[in-house]
Amino acid sequence: MTAAVELAGITKTFPGVVANHDVDLTIDVGTVHALVGENGAGKSTLMKILYGVQKPDSGTIRINGETVGFSSPSDAIARGIGMVFQHFMLADNLTVLENVVLGAEKLHGTGAAARSEVQAISDRYGFGLDPDLLVEDLGVAARQRLEIVKVLYRGAKIIILDEPTAVLVPQEVDALFENLRGLKEQGHTLLFISHKLDEVLAVADAITVMRRGTTVGDAEPGSVTKHQLAELMVGSELPEPQHGDSTVTDQVQLAVRDLTYVDSFGRTVLDSVTFDIHRGEILGVAGVEGNGQTELVEALMAIRPSTGEIELGGRAVTGWPTRRRRAAGIGYIPEDRHRHGLLLDSPLWENRILGHAYEQVAVRKGWINRGGARTDAERIVTEYDVRTPGIDTTARALSGGNQQKFIVGRELSGQPGLLIASHPTRGVDVGAQAAIWEQMNEARRAGLAVLLISADLDELIGLSDRIQVMLRGRLVAEFDPRDVTPQDLGAAMTGAKESA
Amino acid sequence: GCGSDDSSSDGGSDSGSESSNALDCTAAEGDGPAVGVAYDVGGQGDKSFNDAAAAGVAQAVDELGATCTEAEAQDGEPESAREDRLRQLADAGNSPILAVGFLYSEAVNAVAPDYPEINFAVVDGFDPDDEPNDNVAYLGFAEEQGSFLVGAAAALKTEADHIGFVGGVNTDLIKKFEAGYVAGATEVNPDITVDVTYIEESNTTGFNDPAGGQAAATGMYDQGADIIYHASGGSGAGVFEAAVQAGEGMWAIGVDSDQYQTASPDEQEHILTSMLKRVDVAAFDAIEAVSNDEPLVSYQVYDLAADGVGYSTSGGYVDDISGDLDDYAQQIVDGEIEVPTAP
């Protein structure tokens, strides 16, 4: 039997980076093949080459035994390949239907026929998508399903899924996997990338490990353990969030009472949220994306208007604008570092000032303290192991993990009393993850209060002193991380156990 | 860019200059005066008063053996550019230097004292300060008198007792046209209705906006006017087009030069007459005076008496009333009729 996909000797270099080096990969027809590897290992690049987005410098691609040369995705699509990208590839202002039929208008036109086809696919897999909704009105899970519909609509036989589960909760992941198995049974070939090794072991028929731009080996899903797999990926021990002893004090650092936010459509997005965080305590907030976590953080930062009372270290800060709140001792790691955390086209030392223009080290009497900012940026670079040629490098030139390390370093400087951390390790590789966890733990020992929001339930359980679950704008349940499983959390997050 | 500034302060339009008397300075070789011409924006070929001035110079080339050098202004240029232009012409030894357009008034006033042996003449110009310049002639025109005559012609010809005036930009200069026109019309018929519209209040694009001219004129025709006089420079093309569209019996009156001569056959059937402003006469006068060693200085008024303004008869549409018009002209020359210069 010929393989569905055979990649041989693929090499791809970007200016200064060897993203793929002599990669060989064979994927059998009708299997779910997982590809794992740490951040920057070259997985996405390899997939983009297979999908025709990027051209390899050398190497051959064979699809169903035939050697092909793709110069654009349309060539790959014509060969029956479909790809779901690591980041959503959707136009928010177009409808579900439009997003699906785009580029494949020849199949069923753009009208009624196409609509019923989309509806049919959605029904067949239980996706529950309304073809006429605008994508911007969809939640992340629905968007993820839409991405899959896009691929199915084109009748792809070989489907690449690049981290499709990153934003899903366990229940949604299960549903997705159910679908994947269905696809496999119908003869589709699936290529699946994930950092969540449980998932990989659960769904894959074969596993290939990539490290530093090349494939370093295959693993049998039946026999390999999660731990072994991780060691293969990094070439060393797998770090895990280490909690250590509790350092919770009884001094309340942040007190939030009846925090409420009603959006411009009159929907109550935050509904009387009330909680305390003590010094030395990490409060984890779990929740399916879109249940108000983003708004909670932004309301606390005064980026969004809200009602209710907020006290920080005993001082009422309700009504204070963002900068004043930050100056009162809040560090803020935003969920989207590119949009909220960095000036991508400014050098690192200027990014040291961003959000900290009240610190002496950054600004003195309204004047930028260049010397201070530069020195302190240097300090962050060394202390937090930010891999960069220097502090005059623009933030854009750094990899995501290094950007995140810089942000963490910045937000922990100046001894804040409270750290608001949204998904602090999202998309960060294992090495950097461990470093970030360590930094947070250390600050906690020094008395820092932390509000931790994360989609990574292991991280939440591993780090938090307490976990609250957020559902439809309300805190609906509280768990002790020492005796809770991700499954319990997932159930609470989806409302299955709302009474709990 | 937008809001381009056209300094044609005047409702200048197509001059009667046929291509035969176009000015070609490279071919002018005589021993007459060396004339420097500083045009307003556009320069020679604008079918407007730059061309009229050029026609006067061309006549001087033909008749006086004059030679010439041309220079032209640019949209939105600074005052210093105008001065510099004049100085370049002066440094090259030209005399007289003919500056076309009132915008040169300040520049000439600044430059002339440095070149006492050179004579300057400014079309439509004025002395902006109290110190008289004894080497500058200001060539002014009694536009209100010419406008009076075409106003009278309109009043005599209208069948609706309803006529109109379209101005390019609401400035004092154009208001002179309006004032004379209205005075002439009411002189003939005190009860006549005269609609007045300006395309722009102060934006000089009003002289380059045929679309605006056409919209304004069509509005007047729609509301019952049957003759419309324009003083709107390039926008006049729109006024003529409006007359053509309004159909038989609807007339337009041209300005500055005999616009019948440059109009298309369609338009010619609707151009009743034109108010003539003889910039060519004034320009030739200024050159001739220098060549006779009796340069013009100070204010020179080109009015009806001096044949500096008048009306055209091409097309023969006003032949039946030319007697009346000439009577009015005579009365103005005799001082029996005093034509107002402001509405």
Binding site: G103 | G43, D75, P210, Q223
Partner: protein
């Protein structure tokens, strides 16, 4: 960019709204006409809504609307085009030159080609080289103005009716005259009856010697709407303005669609120049665009990057502009119209429970009412500002739910998706 809060433009029950939309529009149109009619009868300003005013308004609208449509094509494909003015300027020259030698139909093509030239330049700079869209647009405006002055001087000087700054007396495209209907409607319109006359004025304006080009422009609005929103091509083009990377991963050749969008933008701007030269008047004069390209850009934004929205915005501008040139009485009556409309909006707002805007509208409405009753006319000097002030007023009082294409103005490079 004023808030981080997302601003969805459509209510979730969009489908229901779509069903009733046809009727809603009919209702709004009839209601508006009734209000205009009332104001006309009350103030006695017949020009407010005469056949002539409406025709002039339509004619004044067309160049602006074409520029706006041009902007739409370009920005829907993700390229901001401030060079519309330049495209329009190039179009005026093309229209004049080709019409002079080959008649108005070839002139139409000539204007389109000249406009396209501006578009191509913009596309090369922005799409191929990824230059900032605004910079390129500004440069094109400068180049176009200079080039056309220069070209006019070089090519029109010796033509009949030509000069270095003009070319007049050109043949114009034909006009549409529907013999019986046109006259009947005009007669009725002249009666000054309530509503009936106003309705006939609309019919009369459309059937009495209106240039065929006005119909063409109307057709282009519909065509734009149909092509961009109802064809595969349009979907692809719009996707390039919303998320070009996504489009690329689905096999859309983004560069090609951006090029098409920008070049079409130039074509439309060039046609706008044609309208100015051959429909709004019958001659070319240097500088005759007078900033209409910028106004078109404003109309497109104001029209929320949609063809009918742009048409509405351009019409408002064209209407006030034409009226201001035709009749001072009508401008005065406009004060009353504005007041009445403001009260209508105030009531609508009140029903939505929006106190702030209700009182804002009411107060300004009263101010206009007082002005109307305490004056006989609007000073001529101010009448000229009517279109601009009206636009500002509508913008300031309307609630801004404008949404530009998400990737509009952003540079795009192939091979960076994912």
């Amino acid at each position: 960019m004023t808030t981080t809060a997302p601003e969805p433009t459509q209510s979730p029950d969009g489908r229901i709204a779509r069903l009733g939309r046809g009727y809603l529009w009919l209702l709004v149109t009839v209601g508006f006409l009734a209000i205009v009619s009332t104001v006309r009868v009350f103030s006695g300003a017949g020009q407010l809504n005469s056949v002539g005013t409406l025709q002039a308004a339509l004619i004044a609208t067309c160049p602006i609307l074409l520029a706006a449509l041009g902007g739409l094509w370009s920005e829907r494909s993700g390229v901001v085009n401030i060079g519309l003015e330049g495209g329009m300027i190039l179009g005026t020259w093309g229209a004049a030159y080709f019409t002079y030698f080959y008649g108005p139909w070839v002139g139409l093509i000539g204007a389109a080609l000249m406009g396209a030239l501006g578009g191509i330049l913009h596309a090369i700079a922005t799409v191929t080289f990824g230059v900032d869209h605004i910079v390129s647009g500004v440069a094109i405006n400068i180049i176009a103005a200079g080039a056309v002055s220069f070209l006019a001087e070089a090519y029109f000087r010796d033509l009949q009716g030509g000069g270095i700054k003009q070319l007049t007396g050109l043949d114009t495209p034909p006009r549409i005259e529907i013999p019986w209907l046109g006259e009947a409607a005009s007669d009725l319109a002249g009666q000054g009856w309530f509503f009936v006359s106003d309705l006939s004025a609309v019919v009369g304006a459309l059937t009495n010697g209106l240039s065929i080009m006005v119909y063409l422009v109307a057709g282009l609005v519909v065509l734009t709407w149909w092509v961009l929103w109802h064809t595969a091509f349009g979907l692809r083009l719009r996707s390039c303005g919303e998320n070009p990377q996504a489009a690329e991963t689905l096999g859309v050749n983004v560069y090609r669609y951006k090029y098409i969008g920008v070049v079409m933008s130039g074509v439309f701007a060039g046609l706008g120049g044609y309208m100015l030269v051959l429909v709004s008047s019958s001659g070319f004069v240097t500088g005759q665009t007078g900033g209409r390209g910028y106004i078109g850009l404003a109309a497109m934004i104001f029209g929320n990057w949609r063809p009918f929205g742009a048409a509405g915005a351009a019409t408002m501008f064209g209407y006030t502009d034409a009226m201001q040139l035709r009749s001072n009485d009508a401008v005065h009556a406009l004060l009353l119209l504005v007041a009445v409309l403001l009260f209508v909006f105030a009531i609508l707002r009140l029903r939505q429970g929006d106190r702030l805007n209700t009182s804002l509208y009411a107060i300004i409405g009263v101010a206009f009412l007082v002005w109307f009753f305490n004056s006989d006319s609007v000073p001529r000097e101010f009448a000229g500002m009517t279109p601009y002030v009206a636009t500002l007023l509508v913008l300031a009082l309307g609630t801004q739910r404008l949404r530009m294409p998400a990737a509009d103005g952003k540079p795009y490079k192939k091979g960076q998706a994912g």
